[in-house]
Assembly symmetry: C2
Amino acid sequence: MDHQRAVFADGLALDSGAVIKPLSVAYRTYGKLNALRTNAVLICHALTGDQYVAETQPLTGKGGWWDTLVGPGKPVDTNRFFVICANVLGGCMGSSGPAEEMTDAEGQPMGRPWGIDFPSITIRDMVRAQKRLVDHLGIDRLLAVVGGSMGGMQVLEWAATYPDMVVAAAPIATASYHSAQNIAFHEVGRAAIHGDPDWKGGRYWEDGRIPAKGLSVARMVAHITYLSEAALGRKFGRRLRGASALTFLEDVFEVESYLRHQGSTFVRRFDANSYLTITRAMDYFDLASEHGGEVANAFRGTRTRFLVASFSSDWLFPTEESRALVRALNAAAANVSFVEIATDKGHDAFLLDEPVFHRALGGFLKGAAERVGV
Amino acid sequence: MDHQRAVFADGLALDSGAVIKPLSVAYRTYGKLNALRTNAVLICHALTGDQYVAETQPLTGKGGWWDTLVGPGKPVDTNRFFVICANVLGGCMGSSGPAEEMTDAEGQPMGRPWGIDFPSITIRDMVRAQKRLVDHLGIDRLLAVVGGSMGGMQVLEWAATYPDMVVAAAPIATASYHSAQNIAFHEVGRAAIHGDPDWKGGRYWEDGRIPAKGLSVARMVAHITYLSEAALGRKFGRRLRGASALTFLEDVFEVESYLRHQGSTFVRRFDANSYLTITRAMDYFDLASEHGGEVANAFRGTRTRFLVASFSSDWLFPTEESRALVRALNAAAANVSFVEIATDKGHDAFLLDEPVFHRALGGFLKGAAERVGV
């Protein structure tokens, strides 16, 4: 598939010491960059997201993953802002990643995908790749960097690594580190992929197969963590599938066929090696350990304004972790607003139509725009 | 392996309409039955438990799973009580189940295990099998039925199905139904088993293999749900395995190797078809639907005394579900005590050394014993 992309021949040096050469960054933009180049908003996507934030996703034919939030007249108003969204490094929608063609140390193509040989990456590596894109677009300073979940981790790395380039930062439904429980859930998904006979030590591309069953299980378990017990209960409860009484068959509950559907559609659009690479990057994320053991150290002296948002029923990134982040920002004397959205929709709520969240983010961006005269 | 068991040649008719013939119930007892046969306490085990409640488990060589609670001078005092624990119907430690030899309609052995052909069972079927054992032991009335998690579901079925046989009932860390989220987690485990190449449509016994990778993944995801984020955080946090800095290797976090270990040891002692059969039985469990849509209907007119216990950080069977059970028991005018134990150890806490819980259960059993003059 052809994706719009920027290619950087000199490549990118990674935290692991490896170099990706050349570096490709696939991206999409919405709205127009103003003459002063001061109205750019960078959106960072989550684990299985992509650059198609506000338009039809070419593989699935579905609308953009943040269509509710990004567009003309919407909270991230593309009539006013120039919105950029890039596929993360390690992703599988056109940026350098395991599904792309492998290159040697001189950047020469090797006639096979990277696959399992794609180097380990970090959230900071993802952000460095985005920085190259932003430079390439001729933008010195981003009006805002916005993202939820793993996207929020990138927002934090942006603000920590390039403080002078970020006027406003909105880390949403995220944390300054990936918790032991979240690492454990990721590990279940990885074990499922590794256990699939079509995994073939990561070289599944050699015979044109994919570890569909393992990747599907990985998606199923992750999907549960994106929802809440209340959301699952309301959506499905214990409703039986096409039966009024217990039938003792497979897939007897609606929640089961829903989950299986989530798993089986996912494998058509996502690469297993990419999933492994990105889940590892999330697990490695620990802002404190990158800054002498204190999250506050990452933000001392910052002039970036922050909006931290959490969702009350999110148990993947609970409000308590957002509060800890706010305390660290306060300790760094940063300008920070915090909002906890009352919802029973779990982690997924950051992607859904949550009016209070949308008003909070819309107002935050407006305030930033007014400060810089956009 | 030889297990102590009672065999009932006439078999057991199941909720599904199938008949298991003969019915085998493997069990262990501790302490002595008194002359009046009034001091029997039945303990019901959880999903992956067994009858070795208070002695070395012969396959693992580890101590009994409720050693902290059951024994001489312990809260379930085997100097005073005659404790019975049976492997559940559908289990894999000697009771009729998928790993045992299949029999035909006349009860004749067929020279192969049941495997996938073992019929679907319910929690009530498990309890009916235990009832046969209790009758066989010459006991008309149980002083108490005690169990946690799936064991608690059995306790509720005992009190609902044989109210005159149960003086006291202690359903612990359980609920009157299995929630959509819990069904979803079970479905992930089943999908992992079904996706294993050694699953072979459930006929893995034919070539002496087991779907070890799939069963291991099922155990891993279940194990996370037994713990709490706080417990995982305290136990492992983000500690790295044998490294002081990020190494970008597999199994980099301690929590990962711990989980993998949990998975790989489990497959040595548990049968995959048994796991599928029992998780399904848990998913089917819904006391209200068996009693005209109201849990209270299951207990109207009961003289059984109840102790309902929950653990504050248990997110698999949250306190709210225990409270709902208590409200239903109140609505049925049953005699019920309720205790929520403050702990950060998650669902697993019911198996651990929790002094407040142990005192509550010990006191409850003493009270029951005094009422019947034991």
